[in-house]
């Protein structure tokens, strides 16, 4: 049972990593979009592994169901502007590699040094077992009510912006 869990975990981790790297290095935009799909699925699975199934499902619904479809359509509709297939070239390879490996080392080092069991709030925190969705729902309606309401303004601004940008031009 334990072994099976590990195998599944490693499978999804590898899926996420390999597809993410492929997305970064491929020059074909459509391939990149589809490997992004695999990355999202892998991350969603990892969320579910961390018993955050609400976030996992949200990830699938929003990123795969919404954003990715948008990206794929965007790529397909703009793929051939003037009969020239869009190629994503890598530029600034050296400086980019340096910067990202520095960030990687920094994050890796600190993650290795964290003693998770020692963090006070994890030690004192309650283990959540079972379904987390009702807890999130109750919290959104009580403690996090104000942010929940104000996000409405953010979404309204985003909608306004979309319609302003897509709307007709001034003469």
């Amino acid at each position: 049972m334990y072994l099976l869990q590990e195998i599944i975990f490693v499978f999804f981790t590898l899926l996420t990593l390999v597809s993410a790297v492929y997305m970064a290095i491929t020059t074909n935009v459509i391939y990149a979009a589809f490997s992004l799909l695999l990355t999202f699925i892998g991350v969603a699975a990892l969320y579910i592994f961390a018993s955050a199934e609400f976030i996992g499902l949200t990830q699938i619904m929003i990123y795969i169901g919404g954003i990715l479809i948008l990206i794929v359509f965007g790529v397909m509709l703009t793929n051939k502007v003037g009969n020239q297939p869009i190629r994503a070239k890598s530029i600034n390879t050296v400086s980019g590699l340096l910067l990202s490996s520095a960030l990687f080392t920094l994050l890796m080092n600190s993650i290795m040094e964290i003693n998770f069991s020692k963090l006070p709030w994890i030690k004192n925190g309650l283990m959540v077992s079972g379904n987390t969705t009702p807890i999130i729902g109750v919290n959104l309606m009580t403690q996090y009510l104000l942010p929940f309401e104000i996000i409405a303004v953010l979404l309204l601004v985003a909608l306004l912006g979309a319609s302003l940008i897509a709307g007709r031009k001034d003469n």
Partner: protein, 461 residues
Amino acid sequence: MITLVILALVGLFLMIAGLFDISRKAVFGVAMTGMVAALAGNLYMWDKVPMAYFNRMILIDNYDVAFITAVLGVSMFLFLLSENYFGKIQNYLTEHYALYMFSLVGMIAMISFNNLVMLFIGIEILSVSLYILAGSEKNNLSSNEASLKYFLMGAFATGILLMGITLIYGASGSFYLSGIEQYFTSGNELSPIAYIGMFLVLVGMSFKVSVAPFHFWTPDVYDGSPTFVTAFMSTVVKIAGFAAFFKLFYICFSSVIHYWVEVVSVLVILTVTIGAMTAITQKSVKRLLAYSSVSHAGYMLMVVLVGADADNLMFYVVAYSISSIVAFSVLMLVQEAAGNAEITSFEGLAKVNPLLGFAMTVSMLSLAGIPLTAGFMAKVYILTSVFNAGHGIVVLVAILTAMVGIYYYFKVIIAIYFKTATEERKLFTYNSSSLFKIVLFIGIIAIIVLGICPDIIHNLI
């Protein structure tokens, strides 16, 4: 809290009003009334017991009231100049007004936040509104470029900021400022993710307030956006950004100041130097003001560096905002008459239109920090407190770059007074309405009065 609700409702009301055929003046009137009402609701909170709302998501004390007043006051001041800008917008006029109202909602959320979730949502509301407003001249390619560039860079910085907030939550187990403060002051060994979280939040916030080396978007975005939006971004938005920046670092991270004080002082030195050095070569006054706003961000960051004296920050942002608005209002008029924002367009302005020439001169003097202006007193206060905190090198660099600053600000003054206008330019009519004149008069008087008796605003908080 009531301020936030009023502004959100006014925004909604304006959007609905767009369905009906109402005049431009009425829309302007509604927006101004909304801001006045919001300001009144805000001032009512002055000197009351700090009030917490909605499970302490928002906590309003004198600091917040003062900065919200500054934000609302400066935007009302700026809106008096909006006639030409809004006059050019043919479609979706009320929607543009609504965006300004919503961006004010975002600013109020990010000033009065007591929980990092509120801070983040506030910054997002503000940024998304600004991405759209930067591109509001749809037929102008550089406005489109500004919008897209700001959006891409801003989204990246948002990601970094969010990651920082997450890591701080991972270390402290709280989004509340008091919880984070408790974690940092507890004396226990800090988790490594707390440091990285702090660092990433610093980077994210520095980006949002355009502190070097995260300022690369600033010149292009400020230059490409419509001048009114540029004025809005470099004054009102900067006040809100620094109010949030200072509050976050003052409350949460001041107990571990020795971990980040060197990083911030390097940022300060880089910002004032890069801002001043790159401003020298600029030929366009708009770009010059963009670089000068980077350099002024360095001064405001010094208050974060000291980690005390919020009243210095308050005075600086007010002095800087008033001077900038006067400069931008002259720039708007000159730009409209001459068709561009080059320094050469200002040549001989003093003879053609003495009021505009004088106003520009006073604001340039204030931005450069010449005595008897508000800008001078603001710099004195901040540099004194930085010096007392023991950052001698920062003060030295700041004074040196301020001298460089005098050079490029005076380039404009010299163009105004000591160059003669071309024959063609002598015939320009500067379409200054009475509102422009009122703003210029109030601005000039405020700059000089604050320069002589700064205690009107200083020591308030």
